[in-house]
């Protein structure tokens, strides 16, 4: 929008302020990042896109012929629609739970943390000192059928799906929430940290109740953090397959599991590529709509 404003009033912009010989400088600064993006994102993406249009009747041994097989997309979408919906559903649920857990946590650290702030932040990040895989495997041990969690819940007569925790949908969601929570907390913290507590005091002076102070002052001001946090949680969660593989069964498998199996086990490259691209497109559209509605220029 701001660009439009400048188009309208561009006739009199003071071009003199820019020294012509420095014009190439920004491009030069963009060069390393740009090259990186071209080499490691654009080229592979194009290659993937091309692969998604190969003739699926080919094979590794005999090679794939390029036949512009757009039907790969229709096949992939119709056959694996349940997995797509499951991935997006799990990711959305994960994001909501992360937000509900993460917001109070970030709020407490940013506004009430005092001199413990850094220590608390380290506690949030601490799990990252161990690898993603090992953390998830640890949950497998904790949630095991004969582990103390299940035995305790059993003793308390808490009903469990099929009498177990491991290899169920709640276990997969719990794993996703656990693994992506810090991605929610950190951006929330960053934006709440900037919140001037005097604004909340001022709202109080103007007779705003605590609830109104939160919904009308704190929350709107922390929206950039909410948007960044939800994106950082939702996007990787939708593409994740480790949690479903280790903590779920094949009835919890997400689209990532299908893509992994198609690429590495079946060797059906065209369909795997079509699925990857569809996932990318779906996420892109969702994110685009979401960011437009949330409308935070500050994040993107």
């Amino acid at each position: 929008m701001s660009a439009l404003g400048h188009v309208g009033g561009s006739t009199g912009t003071p071009a003199k302020l820019e020294k012509p010989r420095k014009r190439w400088l920004p491009y030069l600064l963009l060069l390393p990042g740009g090259l990186w993006l071209i080499l490691f994102f654009a080229v592979p993406a194009i290659q993937l896109f091309a692969t998604s249009l190969y003739d699926p009747s080919g094979s590794l041994e005999e090679g794939y012929a390029m036949t512009w097989q757009f039907s790969n997309y229709a096949d992939a979408a119709s056959e694996y629609l349940p997995h797509f919906m499951r991935s997006l559903g799990y990711a959305a649920l994960t994001t909501v739970i992360c937000l509900l857990l993460g917001y109070p946590l970030a709020y407490a650290i940013a506004l009430k943390g005092g001199r413990w702030k850094n220590l608390l932040l380290i506690c949030v990040i601490a799990p990252f000192f161990t690898s993603f895989l090992i953390r998830t495997l640890a949950w497998k041990v904790i949630l095991s059928d004969n582990g103390w969690v299940v035995t305790t819940l059993d003793a308390l007569h808490v009903p469990l799906p099929d009498g177990r925790l491991l290899a169920t949908t709640p276990a997969v969601i719990a794993g996703l929430v656990y693994n992506f929570l810090p991605f929610m907390v950190l951006p929330l913290y960053a934006s709440l940290e900037k919140l001037d507590p005097r604004l909340l005091e001022a709202a109080g002076d103007l007779y705003a109740r605590p609830v109104a102070r939160f919904t009308r002052v704190a929350l709107p001001l922390s929206m950039p953090g909410v948007v960044a946090g939800t994106l950082l949680t939702f996007i990787p969660a939708a593409g994740d397959y480790i949690n479903a593989q280790l903590l779920g069964t094949n009835r919890q498998y997400m689209i990532g599991n299908v893509i992994q199996s198609k690429f590495l086990r079946v060797g059906d490259y065209p369909n795997a590529a079509a699925l990857s691209f569809t996932l990318m497109a779906a996420i892109l559209v969702l994110v685009f709509v979401y960011v437009r509605r949330a409308g935070t220029d500050e994040v993107l």
Partner: protein, 411 residues
């Protein structure tokens, strides 16, 4: 970056852009990027991919130079639970250590093969592109080994350097259709696929039908992600021979498997990683490999191996030398060493798989007479009569069958 000489937008264009919320700059950028993307994509894509199969000339060009003479080492990729380990110190592997002491060749041993497809998926791009995979030995099951040999991705070894192998390999392993001259693959161990259960978690499981339908096992059963093992056993339980499976028989077996998956009876499809879950009891019963289970039962007597009433699957895992491996002569020494009946007996006494070496049974008599008469290590004709091997599938069949199987197991 503002350009003062740019003409102002027409009101219509501005209205359109305003309505869509796009600025002219983003629009142009988008169009440009899209165009570039499609153009490059087209250029790249028009080629497709070349066949991965290598002809003789390509194979020769791909084969790495052997530096064994100067580098006394080799990298060994094997399956878990597949080598003897010192009881007191898990880092020590007696037969491998003795090999190093004897030849001066240091062995880097990795247990990084969990499943044939998975391993193949991991290394195939490099092997196809003639790049090193940093391994001098990879151990793969018959069907995958024959596929890799067919692709021309392995080096042949010099049989004059492996006299023990040519002399002592079991007769049944000497004349395999995909390796008639015994040049590409040396069986590391053979084995049987049957049922395992954890007696702490369930009562005895005797048949595949029990495994797939018994109510008390619901959600506590695992089957192997290796199609040939799982489908092979189901075929036998339906009275069919996996060695001559037809399309209709295969579909019928998958139907049975699918029912068990849909009902929630089957919790998981696993590679070699079933062993932890079985040991803990998260999996009460599963399709498993004989030697693993016997090894596990040495530590946990609740874990037991069962020969299903309908029969067992028989297979071999083979030492292969990838075309890009640089220590071929060292590997030849290792093969020869492990085909010495004495060493083979020592290995078999620990891993409890079927020993592919003639004469090892006599050596085992000296080590442990009980093991020498164990039909799971030295199968007698009665045991062998109960075993079947899976049909050698053509590439088309393999693709068709795998896709159907993966549709049930992988997704």
């Amino acid at each position: 970056m503002r350009n003062p000489s740019r003409p102002p937008l027409s009101p219509e264009a501005a209205a359109v852009l305003n309505a869509t919320g796009l600025s002219r700059r983003t629009l142009m950028r988008g169009l440009f990027a899209g165009g570039a993307f499609i153009a490059t994509g087209g250029a790249l894509a028009a080629c497709g991919t070349k066949p991965a199969k290598k002809n003789e000339a390509e194979k020769a060009a791909c084969t790495a130079t052997d530096v064994s003479a100067t580098e006394k080492k080799l990298n060994f990729s094997n399956w878990p639970l597949y080598v003897d380990v010192d009881e007191k110190d898990e880092k020590k592997r007696p037969t491998l250590d003795a090999f190093t002491a004897k030849t001066g060749i240091a062995v880097t041993y990795n247990e990084d093969v969990n499943d044939n497809n998975e391993f193949f998926g991991k290394v195939r791009n490099q092997l196809q592109a003639c790049q090193s995979i940093d391994r001098d030995i990879m151990v793969l099951t018959d069907w995958m080994a024959s596929r890799v040999v067919g692709l021309g991705w392995v080096q042949s070894f010099d049989n004059t350097k492996t006299p023990n192998f040519t002399k002592n390999a079991l007769a049944t392993l000497k004349n395999r259709a995909w390796d008639k001259d015994m040049k590409f693959a040396a069986p590391w161990q053979s084995g049987l696929t049957g049922i395992a259960y954890n007696a702490k978690a369930t009562k005895e499981v005797r048949t595949i039908d029990e495994l797939l339908t018994r109510a008390d096992l619901k959600g506590k059963v695992a089957v192997l992600s290796e199609m040939r093992d799982t489908v092979g056993l189901i075929l036998m339980s339906q009275g069919k021979d996996p060695g001559t499976v037809s399309d209709a028989e295969f579909d019928a077996a998958l139907e049975k498997l699918k029912k068990a998956v849909d009902s929630g009876q089957i919790r998981k499809f696993t590679g070699n990683d079933y062993k932890e879950d079985l040991n803990k009891g998260d999996i009460a019963a599963c399709i498993a490999w004989s030697g693993d289970v016997i090894q596990l039962s040495a530590e946990n007597e609740d874990v037991k191996f069962v020969t299903p009433e309908s029969g067992l699957m028989l297979w071999s895992d083979n030492i292969l030398i990838p075309s890009t491996a640089t220590h071929k002569a060292n590997v030849e020494q290792l093969i020869d060493y492990y085909y010495d009946p004495k060493v083979a007996a020592e290995l078999a006494a620990y891993v409890n798989y079927i020993c592919p070496v003639q004469g090892a049974q006599d050596e085992m008599q000296k080590l442990d007479p009980d093991l020498a008469s164990n039909p799971l290590i030295f199968p007698d004709s009665a045991t062998l009569a109960k075993t079947k091997s899976f049909k050698a599938l053509t590439e088309d069949e393999d693709k068709k069958f795998s896709a159907k199987f993966e549709a049930i197991s992988g997704a």
